[in-house]
């Protein structure tokens, strides 16, 4: 058998082309498998070397989404230093409805933490001042605390990851003189009770207001006119109507739905807006601000008072007995026939009931929590 001459195809390095763009492809001499030259692959390399070239060195301080560039890879907006508009924040060219939302910038996060933990301002106040939702303010404070603890313990932080994310997403900046609101802070989630459609005949002689609507949705009887603070008592603001009220019996007890004025996260902003429109206070910005601060202070005080009262009531039922190793906490409870039920199996009295099996092995019992109360 004569010695086999290697074919020229395997000996010669492949000529550099858009199909052999990578360094490992250029060195590949052993493979005789031709790379499939599909239309999509051709288009991909054409894009990488054409319009995609501008993404090789992305613009600093820009999200560099595809929608910010035209088909030839040219930046659409005026100049590189122009701030990004809504059109530049669509990461998916085929989904025009998806607009990337801002995340908190690092200075803003630190400022939130500083105002809450150092200046000891309430979460409510900081939320209004910086335009960040109250739940987010709480989350930021907890996370920054965690971060500080991790730093204290000299554990590694995923900083490159955080930096990369902050470069890829739009961020809400923090400038002390000019506050950029991060999000809508006074949104009210749809209450499940309001999903139903109700035909409710009501008298024309009486104003049917939000308080009444809430009571209808909860199945509570109408309030008498003198008890209804929204009925001809303009001096009382509806948002102060936060006293909890129950309706129904036994297991069917539910909270009466309060008017939206009282349920929104920042109800005092209503009173603030009313003050701003008040002709008597038109030129007195200081007075408006004073009233607003006073209302917040009063609200915080009444909340703290209610909380202290609740803790005191709970604590009064408890006897704490110290031993060397632990404490005994003895709670005085009430055993009643109503709680135990006539068959002795009711669950409202203390104690684990007899003859009632554990339900957690029963079919259809979901053990993974499906909701988190916040």
């Amino acid at each position: 058998m004569p010695p086999r001459t290697p074919s020229t195809f395997t000996l010669l390095p492949p000529t550099p082309s858009i199909y052999t763009h990578c360094s490992s492809c250029l060195k590949r001499e052993f493979s005789s498998t031709p790379i499939a030259k599909t239309r999509l692959r051709r288009q991909m390399f054409a894009w990488l070397q054409g319009p995609g070239e501008s993404f090789r060195h992305p613009l600093p301080k820009s999200t560099n989404y595809l929608s910010a560039y035209d088909r030839r890879g040219k930046l659409l907006r005026e100049g590189e230093h122009t701030p990004e508009g809504r059109d530049d924040l669509r990461p998916f060219p085929l989904n025009q409805h998806f607009v990337s939302e801002s995340i908190l910038s690092e200075p803003l996060r630190q400022e939130i933490w500083r105002r809450v933990q150092v200046e000891k301002k309430s979460v409510r106040t900081v939320s209004v001042e910086l335009g960040v939702e109250m739940r987010r303010v709480g989350a930021v404070v907890r996370l920054v605390e965690l971060e500080r603890r991790v730093r204290e313990e000299a554990k590694p932080l995923a900083l490159p990851y955080a930096r990369a994310i902050h470069e890829m997403l739009p961020t809400t900046p923090f400038e002390p003189g000019r506050i950029t609101p991060h999000e809508s802070i006074n949104d009210l989630p749809v209450h499940p009770l309001t999903d139903q459609q109700i035909f409710y005949p009501t008298s024309e002689s009486r104003a049917f207001n939000r308080t009444d609507a809430g009571r209808v949705f909860s199945g509570a009887p109408r309030l008498l006119d003198d008890q209804d603070i929204a009925q001809g008592h303009p001096s009382v603001e509806p948002w102060t109507n936060t006293k909890p009220e129950k309706v129904g019996r036994g297991e069917n007890t539910i909270d009466v739905l309060k008017p939206a004025d009282a349920r929104i996260p920042h109800p005092h902003l209503i009173a603030y807006a009313q003050d701003q429109r008040d002709p008597a206070l038109r030129d007195d910005e200081a007075e408006i601000k004073r009233r607003y601060a006073q209302r917040l202070l009063d609200d915080a005080e009444s909340r703290a008072e209610a909380r202290a009262k609740k803790i005191a009531v709970d604590e009064a039922k408890k006897t704490r007995i110290e031993t060397d190793r632990w404490q005994f906490v003895v709670t005085d409870v009430k055993v009643s026939r109503q709680g135990t039920g006539t068959d002795g199996r009711g669950s409202a009295s203390p104690g684990y009931r007899y003859g009632v099996p554990h339900e957690d092995r029963k079919k259809g019992q979901v053990k993974i929590p499906t909701r988190v109360e916040v």
């Binding site: 006897t319 704490r320 007995i321 190793r325 632990w326 404490q327 005994f328 906490v329 003895v330 709670t331 005085d332 409870v333 009430k334 055993v335 135990t340 002795g344 009295s349 203390p350 104690g351 684990y352 009931r353 007899y354 003859g355």
Partner: protein, 127 residues
Amino acid sequence: MVVKIRLSRLSRRHQPLYNIVVAQARSARDSKPMEVLGTYDPTPRTPLASRDTPEKVFDPATQKMVPYKPRRYKDIKLDFTRTKYWLGVGAQPSDGVQDMLKMLGLWEGRPGTAEALGKGEVAGKSK
């Protein structure tokens, strides 16, 4: 027949939880009692942190701020009124319940014994 205040174990393996019950002395431990007075959880639990829980506290021994270590607790729930009633009509607490009631000041000892008369511990019951 004697009516006793005793513990009845109603829980899974390695997870003890007790009902404090009033029952006939000869009835089975976990049978349906005459009345349930409360519960006793013998496992020391760590209290949940609240917003008032400090993260660090000053330790006078080392003169340093040290992480706050909450004191563990054992949870007892008891209807004091009904317990007093049952003791008043002659229900006899079991040893375990007796210790618990002594701790709460609801039990002074069986009538006529040295313990009840304030002459110290009953022989054989000293701790």
